[in-house]
Symmetry: C2
Subunit: 430 residues, 2 copies
């Protein structure tokens, strides 16, 4: 392991333990107090204003085309350009922000403290699809309902997914209003209406679609990875009591659509390249993927090794200055299908994907306690409350509780990168 | 019944049996050969170019504001203005297009034969939600799987719905590419991959959302009807074999997302006002709606009496010049919930609705043979083929088959109005 091989930035903060070292360069949409929405890149604890750097004439050729496509307050047109434009921009930013850059003076004028900026959802999301490919989560949840047969017969053949609500996807920091809805109280035959009593989070990887496809034209598995622009964290807030009553026969609806929170930085496929790995071996007896989901390159390097973490801070913990409580530590290796397989499957029927569509992976949990990605799993549906240092217990989330998702990719010999936070604090129902 | 009370248009064709008499005035987005997308209104067999009439100075005040909001190739901004703007535009169009209008010469220059125009999806659809409120359809389908207990326990409390795919909603006339996907052949334990063998249509009412709501703010049932801009026909094409294998536990996905077809004209809430009626009485023993779904005005006049029809033309029927075969004749009275109840339910958890969102009613079938809205019901899942005058039979749709949906509202003493057609022809899988 040769740490000296890791390139450094003249932005000093980027060389520490920041989520955003020179090797990350995630893209996003930000604004400063009262200002317009502009495209930026995160570097250490700062944001580089891409549109200001463009105006200063520091981008040329394909990198310039790429930055021009980031204007207008949304990254859709940039996503549509695909990998080549992303790579050109990345190469130029590595030079501009790397040690020895000759443009430091110009760039410093376009560099703002992130703490003074507001971050927004980075693209207009046409359609949002939530998958269910965290196999340990599917096992853990399945066991609650079918102890002897937790996985349904289609699980190991079909990358299970369903359409979600795009209009209520919000950036980290947006408050989470407790939803109201119908629930069936235990032992009753008629439902009640009122605030959700079993509010939960779900730890997911978000996947941004880059280049789309025409309706009727499936994306072959061998090309599928090229259609992914980047990644984020996603909290698929869930009202378990509403879900249990509404979801038959057509799936979750109002139990999910009140809000979904994402981390606002788009961590590119290129930044995550060093953290790719082989798809975890399927256990003996598991079927081979059908041909439209099978690609040797994807099997060899289509998975990601990214650590995922969920933290909880309650109102009382905040008052007592207690540190956040770690609810779970998980990893993207628990995905049964690769992101390329999700793209190939989603489009195999001719469904049109568009730049700026968002996928969720589904909850990513490990097999062991301490690795679960939802309270439903941790408390076994409310049976075993979590005990907190504040003396409180939690079966599900209470008003004032804040959930923080984080992600970190590590590998010997390369810079570790993070995703930034995906936070949301629960506020009382209206 | 006083037929002479029905106002007439100087556009002669509008005074016959057209779907688009003076009393209808549906809005849409059209283009002429090679031209840009513009807003228009259907009158008889013609389209009035609203933007040309605007340029001619024939709109003032709120009607002018309304037409200005129809520009740009999508009606979203017009939908956002709400009822008052729609009414102002309608009043002005009634005067301009009515007998005795003093502006006929100017208007004739902005009137094009509909046959020379292409019609488009009339708004950018942010989110599409498909409901399941045709109770006879739910009964008919439920009986196939659970003969003794066709409706699930939540059906009469929850307006069942789920998120659909917005990116593949297309206007009438778009070809329907047979989707490929995973299916589980009868008697097998492992799925196969290939073209759908059980392709079906679904007869639905489409509902366009007008004014939206902020996230977290439910729309009260008493206000809900005000949030609806208009209506269309919707064919929710369905791959039954793909659906059966994929839909557990999260609902239909690729079995629906390959295409949904809509009729392109937005029939306004005002045009349908004469065809409103009381919500059909719930059978004895059915529960009262929960309070957030209950409104006396909505119960008294929140339903619609609109006849719905499905026609089939096969390739051979076309060659033999045979008339279309009527597969079903149904009515919107089979909706168990009103459209206002759908809006109130959808937003009760704080979900944000936006102008241009689209709802589907779910398949609308009657209780009797001849009134079914899908082949799944007509053939009982393929058991009893439909016999056609061409000598052909159909269990499900074959390549070359064209499905045509129509709607007609009739009432003594008022002009009957229609929706225009929603057509789609099946073409072979890629």
């Amino acid at each position: 392991m040769n740490q000296t091989a890791i390139a450094r930035s003249w932005v000093e903060h980027a060389n520490g333990h920041s989520d955003f070292p020179l090797q990350n360069l995630p893209l996003g949409i930000f604004s400063r107090a009262g200002g317009e929405r502009r495209s930026g890149v995160a570097i250490g604890d700062a944001i580089l204003d891409l549109e200001a750097v463009l105006a200063a004439g520091l981008f040329e050729g394909e990198a310039r085309t790429a930055v021009e496509a980031t204007r207008g307050g949304a990254l859709n047109a940039f996503f549509a350009l695909g990998r080549s434009a992303r790579v050109a921009l990345r190469e130029r930013l590595l030079a501009l922000l790397g040690e020895g850059s000759e443009h430091q003076a110009t760039l410093k004028a376009a560099l703002y403290p992130a703490s003074e900026c507001e971050l927004h959802v980075p693209a207009r999301i046409g359609d949002y699809t939530d998958f269910y490919v965290g196999i340990q989560h599917a096992m853990n949840v399945g066991k609650l309902f079918r102890p002897d047969n937790p996985l349904l017969p289609n699980y190991k053949y079909v990358p299970i997914g369903y359409h979600g609500r795009a209009s209520t996807i919000r950036p980290s920091g947006t408050e989470v209003r407790r939803p109201k809805g119908q629930t069936l109280p235990a032992g009753q035959s008629e439902p009640s209406f009122g605030p959700c009593a079993r509010l939960d989070y779900e730890l997911e990887l978000g996947i941004w679609i880059g280049q789309g496809n025409d309706m009727g034209q499936a994306i072959p598995i061998g090309d599928a990875a090229e259609h992914i622009a980047g990644f984020c964290l996603l909290n698929d807030w869930s009202a378990r009591d509403i879900q249990a009553w509404e979801y038959q026969p057509l799936g979750p609806f109002l139990s999910k659509s009140f809000i979904s929170t994402i981390s606002p930085w788009v961590v590119t496929a290129e930044a995550l390249e060093p953290f790719r790995c082989a798809q975890p071996a399927r256990p003996n007896g598991d079927p081979q993927p059908l041909s439209y989901l099978l690609d040797t390159r994807d099997q060899a390097a289509g998975a990601f090794d990214i650590e995922l973490e969920v933290l909880l801070i309650t109102e009382r913990m905040r008052e007592q200055n207690l540190p956040a409580h770690r609810l779970g530590l998980s990893n993207t290796l628990s995905m049964y299908w690769t992101v390329a397989q999700l793209v190939a499957h989603h489009s195999v029927n001719g469904c049109q994907l568009q730049p700026g569509d968002l996928f969720g992976s589904g909850t990513l949990s490990g097999a062991e306690p301490g690795q679960y990605g939802s309270l439903l799993e941790i408390t076994e549906g409310g049976k075993h409350p979590v005990e907190l240092a504040s003396g409180e217990v939690r079966k599900f989330l209470e008003d004032g509780d804040e959930i923080i998702l984080r992600a970190r990719a590590r590998r010997d010999g390369v810079a570790s990168i993070g995703f930034g936070e995906c936070r949301g604090k629960v506020v009382a129902a209206n």
